[in-house]
């Protein structure tokens, strides 16, 4: 092994280099660095002369392996690992030595490339050996054979250990075996108070009360802890805690994301999915069934309440991407594949997955399944409809708004049509001017520029070209005028001609004579006036009949007027358009104009107590179809059609084509299968992660080939296999974990363990965990005594006063403008399936706790709790507060600090000293962290 110097006090790279030198093979980070940064430079600029590929090896130097690099060529070793400045290779690429410039002939590397090579040398100049071609893990059979997570799930034997007493659960045998192999001992056991607080947070997301803590501390029966676990597992708050974890995976939110044009963004029924999830956890719904329902509840037999239909929200409540279908499908493929399989299938949308055996064909096999599913316009009801007064009122209000919508539409159309009847002259002139335009687009453009509707313009053109007698009698004079080049001069002769020849409309003749037009524009204006007059006469006749309670007139009495009216009314009249045509012309303004009304109907679903709950269901389309591969993900470039079926890498032998409707149920069954190597492993890893703060696999949404076999692979498999064996029961899994000695260890580590296992990969102690956003807010409410413990229902706004005291899981999640409070506390990104939360520590969190009215309110409520408000002196008050906040008694130094604080008479303010003190306790690390 090569001795390394730590260059110029740069400790960082000293550590890095040391790691490389000690490792039997290249550190994965460095391997990646080499493959992505260095090998491409070598391949493009060096290998042609300095590798086994070289036709003629130059200078005796090869760069293919570290061995060759260290041996070097005629000038000596090419590299000194860890020391860039001393490495000839670096000197050569820097072009600083006139006698040694590589690549030669001025084909100098860029400064960034040189920097990459320097970095690589400084890190130890690792050269990972190229993998033989037969080990290509992008090939499904190879990956199945070689990648640990794709191999069948088998229950491993329980290891034999020395310290049998420590083994309370099979989990412990696996943990202990690894520790003993390294001559380490497990951590000490946590005290009772720590344990009840830990397990309460783990299962409920809430602290225990002081009474519960004391009872547990004083319970000396051997099964005290087991009974505690059972009690917590049976709590209705258990589902709120564990359901929320699943909602992260399901990228749950109560809104659709950005939508233009004032469309309602809220999902009316997202909460039915959330409540389904909470219920599923409380009822310990078998996980396989849980998956099947979330993917295909619509294809299963439904009970009377159809409750499981709500499960389909898993697929449907993602972002709407301005209704781009391929993006919506992509979101669904992603949530299913990462959420249930720990596979990043969505990477294969545009090209075959870069690392995993997932070709684009597989992506579009799934695409076809979701493209063959749709959301019904009217969502199915959940539960039996009860005919209540409230429900009837809901219907009445809904119908009222629907009536307003029809009325709005009617008015828009009438206004539009009325307008057309009063613009006859403009259209006549328009036809004249557009007669030389034959191109459709140019015609439309012309109409636009003249503020005419192209459809109506076309109708006038037709009337002029293919006229019957009536049209001729009215429009004939217009045509003659239009053909004249000197209207003022020709008018008398033309008018005389109309008088003498039969078949011209008398009103038109009279009007033209009276108007004596000097231009075509003036003639057009006369026509406008005459048509308007006929329309006014007609409207007067109609309203007169209405007033006199007579039947509506069928026509105008004066035949010449009636003749004009004929061109204004009726499906073939040029100045009229059929109803359907008007609707389509006005689609946009009608849609925009009725948006507030449509939103009002939507709103009824969450504002009206009689609104029935519905499922955000997905159903199969009547004719399911396959999708084509979209080349580079582009809908404009369809490639081959691919059948709807499961992923190749997870289909061990047969890979049947899905034939049952869209294939969602078949997909669901393929995922929720005991034969599927990933489903149980991925889920169990997550459950372990939520208990221990870290999973066996640290990328819980990616079990692909880039994810190393975990140190505790055997334990993961044991848990996963036992989980499946016990009917996919999550609560069974909890017991297996929680009753272990491993789980019950203290969170402080011994120096020996810390030195040997600094990352706690061996679970030689418990990881201290910080409260997540939900637990933090719920804890403040629980301690202040204000927590509203109701389960389920419509989401509530958490941000505005008066503050809701509901648990945080019931807060409205607006994925478009997620409130700062959520983001500040590392809430999961509701736009994409979230596998684990970030854990940042930033001053904005402190600002919220120091200054937000919500926290102040809790501090005041805490100070107002009876046992605190009624404390007869400071000593009693401090005792009572400690009991409530920390479920323990204060130690003398804490009492001392408290007394000093409470006796300080600095400034009068809006908070009493006790309230200020209460706030300090709420903000403390002891509240915020779980040991």
């Amino acid at each position: 092994m090569r001795k390394l110097s730590i260059g110029r006090g740069v400790l960082l790279f000293g550590i890095a280099a040391f790691r490389v030198a000690c490792a039997a093979e290249a550190d994965p980070g460095q391997a990646e660095f080499f493959e992505t940064r260095v090998r491409p430079i070598f391949a493009d600029h060096c290998y042609s002369c300095h590798s086994e590929k070289a036709e003629k090896l130059k200078g005796g130097l090869r760069l293919d392996t570290q061995e060759y690099l260290l041996k070097g060529g005629k000038s000596g070793p090419a590299i000194v690992p860890g020391e860039a400045d001393a490495s000839l290779l670096i000197k050569a690429v820097r072009y600083s030595d006139p006698k040694l410039k590589m690549p030669p002939k001025g084909k100098r590397l860029t400064p960034e490339q040189v920097a990459d090579l320097e970095s690589w040398v400084k890190m130890g100049a690792a050269v990972p050996a190229p993998e033989p071609a037969s080990h290509n893990l992008r090939d499904a059979p190879t990956a199945r054979a070689r990648h640990w997570a794709f191999q069948p799930l088998r229950k491993p034997p329980i290891p034999v250990v020395i310290d049998k007493e420590w083994v309370q659960s099979p989990v412990d045998a696996f943990i202990l075996a690894q520790l003993e192999a390294r001559h380490l001992s497990p951590g000490r056991k946590a005290d009772r108070r720590t344990l009840i607080r830990r397990v309460s947070y783990d299962l409920l997301g809430l602290p225990p009360t002081a009474q519960e803590t004391e009872a547990f501390e004083n319970d000396n029966s051997p099964d005290a802890y087991a009974r505690l676990v059972e009690r917590l597992l049976a709590s209705p708050h258990y589902g709120e805690r564990w359901g929320r974890y699943w909602l992260d995976v399901a990228r749950y939110a109560d809104t659709k994301g950005y939508l233009a044009g004032g469309e309602e963004r809220r999902y009316a029924f997202s909460y039915t999915y959330r409540d389904y999830v909470v219920r599923a956890y409380n009822e310990d719904k078998p996980y396989d069934q849980f998956i099947i329902e979330q993917l295909a509840a619509d294809e299963l037999p439904q009970g009377a309440d159809k409750g499981s239909l709500a499960a389909l929200g898993f697929l449907t409540l993602g972002r709407r991407f301005l209704n781009n279908q391929n993006d919506i499908i992509d979101d669904r493929i992603d949530v299913v594949s990462r959420g249930t399989l720990g596979l990043t299938v969505a990477c294969a949308r545009c090209h075959d997955h870069k690392f995993d055996p997932i070709p684009t064909r597989d992506y579009y096999s799934l695409h076809g399944i979701f493209a063959s599913s749709h959301e019904p316009a009217e969502l199915p009801l959940l539960g039996e409809l009860r005919d209540s007064l409230e429900y009837r009122d809901f219907l009445k209000q809904k119908e009222k708004i629907e009536g307003e919508m029809s009325e709005f539409k009617r008015k828009e159309i009438d206004k539009f049509k009325n307008d057309l009847r009063h613009k006859a002259g403009d259209y006549l002139l328009g036809v004249r001017e557009a007669q030389t335009i034959h191109d459709k687009k140019a015609f439309d453009t012309f109409a636009g520029e003249h503020k005419l509707n192209p459809v109506v313009l076309q109708r006038w053109q037709t009337a002029l070209e293919e006229h019957g007698d009536n049209e001729r009698s009215i429009l004939g004079p217009w045509v003659e005028f239009a053909n004249s080049t000197n209207i003022a001069g020709d008018a008398p002769a033309l008018l005389a001609k109309f008088d003498t020849q039969p078949g011209y409309n008398s009103i038109v003749i009279r009007g033209l004579r009276a108007g004596a037009p000097n231009s075509l524009r003036e003639a057009a204006n006369i026509y406008t006036k005459l048509f308007k007059q006929a329309d006014d006469d007609w409207k007067a006749a109609v309203s007169k009949a209405t007033e006199e309670h007579k039947p509506a007139p069928k026509q105008l009495e004066d035949p010449a007027s009636e003749s004009l009216r004929q061109l204004l009314y009726g499906d073939h009249a040029p100045a009229d358009v059929p109803e359907s045509e008007a609707e389509s012309i006005l689609a946009q303004p009608i849609r925009d104009g009725t948006a507030p009304l449509r939103n009002k109907i939507e709103e009824l679903n969450w504002t009206h107590p009689g609104a029935p709950a519905r499922a955000m269901a997905l159903l199969d389309v009547p004719q399911p179809h396959n999708s084509h591969v979209l080349l580079r993900g582009n809908p404009g470039s369809p490639g081959e059609e691919v059948p709807r079926r499961f992923l190749e890498v997870l289909s061990n032998t047969a890979r049947p084509v899905f034939t049952n409707g869209s294939g969602r149920l078949e997909l669901a069954r393929a995922i929720a299968s005991p034969e599927n190597p990933l489903t149980a492993r991925v889920y169990v890893n997550r459950v372990w992660m939520h208990h221990f703060g870290e999973g066996f696999v640290k990328t819980p949404g990616d079990f692909g080939v880039r994810t190393e076999e975990p140190l505790q692979h055997a334990l993961l498999d044991f848990l996963a296999a036992s989980f499946v064996e016990h009917g996919w029961s999550t609560k069974y899994l909890h017991r297996l974990i929680l009753l272990s000695s491993a789980y019950q260890q203290a969170s402080d580590s011994s120096p020996a363990n810390l030195a040997a296992d600094p990352e706690n990969n061996l679970w030689s102690h418990m990881n201290r965990q910080r409260l997540d956003f939900e637990s933090l807010r719920d804890t403040l409410l629980a301690i202040s005594g204000k927590l509203d413990e109701r389960v389920g229902g419509l989401p509530v706004d958490l941000e505005t006063e008066p503050f809701s005291a509901r648990r945080t899981i019931y807060g409205l999640i607006d994925r478009q403008n997620l409130p700062g409070m959520f983001r500040t506390f590392d809430f999961s990104n509701p736009d994409t399936s979230s596998q684990r939360r970030f854990s940042t520590t930033v001053p904005q969190q402190a600002l919220f706790l120091m200054n937000s009215p919500f926290v102040i309110e809790q501090a005041r409520a805490l100070a107002a709790c009876r046992e605190i408000a009624e404390a007869k002196d400071h000593a009693q008050l401090i005792q009572a507060l400690y009991r409530r906040v920390f479920q323990r008694a204060p130690i003398p130094s804490e009492i001392q600090l408290a007394l000093q604080f409470l006796q300080n008479k600095t400034n009068p303010s809006r908070l009493t000293p006790v309230e200020k003190y209460a706030q300090v306790l709420l903000l403390s690390n002891e509240v915020m962290f779980v040991d």
Binding site: L12, F13, P28, A31, P111, A115, E131, Y258, F321, L322, T344, H353, K354, F355, G448, E449, K451, L586, Q588, G693, K698, D702, G704, R706, T707, P758, E759, N767, R768, Q769, Q816, L818, G820, R823, F827, N829, T832, S833, F838, S839, V842, P843, Q844, A846, L847, F848, M850, N851, I856, S893, T906, S909, R910, K916, Q919, V920, S924, N925, E926, M928
Partner: protein, 487 residues
Amino acid sequence: MTPPRHPFRLQDSFLTRRDFLSRCGIGLGMLGLANVLGPQLAHAEGSADAAAATSPLAPRAPHFPARAKRVIHIFANGGPSHVDTFDPKPSLTRLNGKPLPMDNLATERRTGAAFRSPFEFRKYGQSGIEVSDLFPQVAQHIDDIAVIRSMHADVPNHEPSLLLMNCGEARLPRPSMGSWLTYGLGTINQNLPGFITMCPGGYPIQESQNWQSAFLPGIYQGTYINTQHQEIEKLVEHIRNKYVLQQEQREQLDLLKQLNQEHAQRRSQDAQLEARIQSFELAYRMQIDATDAFDISKEPECVRKLYGPGTQARQLLIARRLLERGVRMVQVWHGAGQPWDNHDDLEENHRRLARECDQPIGALLADLKQRGMLDETLVIWGGEFGRTPTVELPTPGANAGKVNGRDHNHHGFTMWLAGGGVRGGYVHGSTDEFGFKAVEKPVHIHDLHATLLYLLGFDHTRLTFRHAGRDFRFTDVYGNVVKELIA
């Protein structure tokens, strides 16, 4: 080839907990950074103690020495017309009212004849670059400005174009530029948010997606400030305590610190406990610093006069104070919705909008220069696209049908950059004779992004974050650095 395993990455420092931190303190935390950002990261900009080093906002050095250290993006949202501002087209004047001798390119709505600019252009500075009468004050600084006349985007619609401009992707949730920057660089002043976005009167369209952190940690999301307000507590959430005086809060925090220290002493050493203790001290200082930063009454009269009256002036002056105090990126929007989107009455509206911001932007450039900040401050001006050289035709429900405005145009438009290593007095590329399409040296939004990252010291292909199995970049799989834009 064996696929590389998951390496240590910057992002890991937000996922791992106490053991990771307590084991390595600053060293290994930084190693994580070194690995993703490249080992040039031997030293960060500021000094950092252990707690600060674990902060996701601790200052970090980029891949190579940066030309720019901070960014201000002045967003003329709605799409300012390039042929009326920075891209003169005499041919439009000549053809006014007549069809172009080419097919009108497809934009969102139908457009008709050539529509001459109602504004006059003249030459400014030594470079003699032409600018219209809309921006005479900005034009005074033209020799410090690189005008990119050959920008182009993908579609003529606001929503996708805003996302493309801000996040490098038109539809799917991706981190915004400010999020990438604060992820890559941290921020210099820990007492202020690292990425601030200001918009008076509400949100632009697409709302907070424009400054989203997407899959990056939430702390990298832009902090939105409604600059319509002037009171500090309406500007920054929870920045002030309405219940206790500063002295009382100090006493509370002193007690908290003592309790937390006793708590920590009863446990083995744990960096995450220490980090949280520190975060309260930071928050306490933030209250004072943020209040100060937003208080423009502290500026001398002459400076306030330089920026002039109005909301634009106020928010740009605040922006300068923030940049001066070490905020990494400030984005300044003209107003809620899409003010520059003048489908009708373009002349009147563009004149009004430009009058609102010309003097303040000119003042900002002068002010930055005078303070010696311009060299390291990258100033970006532009919209999400430009506008058509042809007149927009009436569309019921979509415009007022006045036939005196322009439609959106993504085929070609103008943006300008100044300061921060940008080549001043330079015009890059051009549109066609009429200003419809970028024809010479076209610069796609991804190219702009690659260039901006370059100026900030990043190889855009190497600033990555692994999410859902993929190493994501601001430029996705695109982008070429436009070297000519760099001084």
